[in-house]
Amino acid sequence: MNKNRSNDRRVVITGIGPISSIGIGRDNFWQGILEKRVNIKLEKALLDNELLGQFYTHKIDNFDISKFGIDKDKLKDIREWKEGEEVIDLNYLIAAIKLALDDSHIDYHVENNNIGLVLAHENLGLMPFCYKLGNLSYDMLIGKTRKEMTRKNFVEKAYPTFLKSAYDVQSFADLFHIARVFNVSDYSLFINNACASGLYAFEAAAQIIRNKHAEAVVVAASDSPDILKYLWFKNLGIYSPDGLVRPFCKDSNGLVFGDGGVGIVVEDYEHAKERNASIYAEYLGGGFDLEGWKITVPQIGSNSYQKAMQKTFEHSQTAKEEIDLLCPHGVGYQVIDYYESQAITAIFGNNPKKPAITAFKPYIGHNLGASAITETAILLLALKNNIIPPTLNYNNPDTKFNLNLIKEKKSMKLTTAMKICSAFAGFNAGAIFRSLN
């Protein structure tokens, strides 16, 4: 099988639109990184004035979808579809796409604009559904709506109350609504490969462009912390109780959620050149391997993650020696950190001097399905500015990982950067980007 790129069409990044806890919009976001700005809040979930739980999270303050200049009628249509509810992570997606399109200066206001759309999200629509299910189940449990509850009665009662909203777990409606907001009429796709979704989305976008289905594709992902998600991670024993992500450290005690979303415009190089677009970097290619062992833990000792990295080098036609900067998943949970370190050192050697390695979750938290794309946005800005942001909270490195992460901000010529991710369900992935300057 020819693993090389499918044809000569080159694919570049021309727009970045971040919505994050450290800043909204490209410049504010990058400034947040440079200032080591962190916005961690203790989120308390109350039910009928009783505390269900509390957890630290990287939080966005004062987000208002009406301030992004998005067509009000189309936002109203979405709200009506959602029965009056504002779905925050859907709004993040829309705002992030708007910022990315504005940043790229591509004209999307015309019909048949030849722009495609790839959305990535781990759980879009799931939380509102869970809450409705929970509320109805509770009402039935306490006899509020019990009456003569046959199965038929139950379905009749449940359908308008929450079963209808189950359709929103099928993400095609969100794809429909978002495509409509931005006049997208070309190839569109919804992706869910857990935390690695963003890297699968880049590859999908590149294939869409290389196969000439579109001249440009907006890739976007988002996530919003929630008590129900927290309870899952807490029960797995992988959530940090003190809210500090410490990747590859002795005192790593788990991950912390992050609020936000990112849109990125991926575009055919010639198309971008023709319209004098500003180019952040070229997407050279991605590599993917599905370990297939367990959903929530990686198989220590397997070589699946290494294989994903090797495939990334092959597909991008890049030698590992060319990588200047590497951004790992870096969740700050010992098992995943160890699994990552084993793969990284197998490829680059113990305590490698090159590439420089830095992890971004201590700044923005873990955005789950949006994490890979959000961290890629930082990587792209690092490439553009020739600055390596340090790994925050890297105060107590654990020697068993055999990695030296960047502790202080470093200015140096950066040409090639690699993002890797080891996700739930064993979705291991990598992607390589190269500056054109």
Binding site: N235, L236, G237, K294, I295, T296, V297, P298, Q299, I300, G301, Q334, V335, Y338
Partner: protein
């Protein structure tokens, strides 16, 4: 041993398990008393727990569920987890 457990298991599963865990962890077999707590008494961490799970699944041809892994805290519970997985497997095979 219950009837529906395949008889290709070692006679003394507990002893076999101790040896397997000794091999994975580098601990002496004497230290691995059946009821010694993996985390507090033996110093096994979450990373070693995954390595042990991989080794158990390979040796006894069973599947341990994700959420079971942190609940296995000593040799005796590891043995019981293997027996339970084998019982389930045997029941499923009977139904086919």
């Amino acid at each position: 041993m219950p009837e529906n457990i395949p008889n290709n298991l070692p006679d003394d599963l507990e002893q076999d398990m101790r040896q397997l865990i000794a091999d994975v962890t580098g601990k002496s077999i004497d230290e691995l008393r059946p009821e010694a707590n993996f985390w507090n008494d033996i110093g096994i961490d979450s990373i070693k727990a995954i390595e042990i799970t991989v080794a158990i699944e390979r040796r006894y041809k069973v599947r341990i569920r994700d959420e079971q892994i942190p609940k296995i805290t000593n040799i005796r519970e590891a043995v019981e987890a293997v027996r339970e997985a084998l019982r389930k497997k045997a029941d499923e095979q009977k139904q086919v």
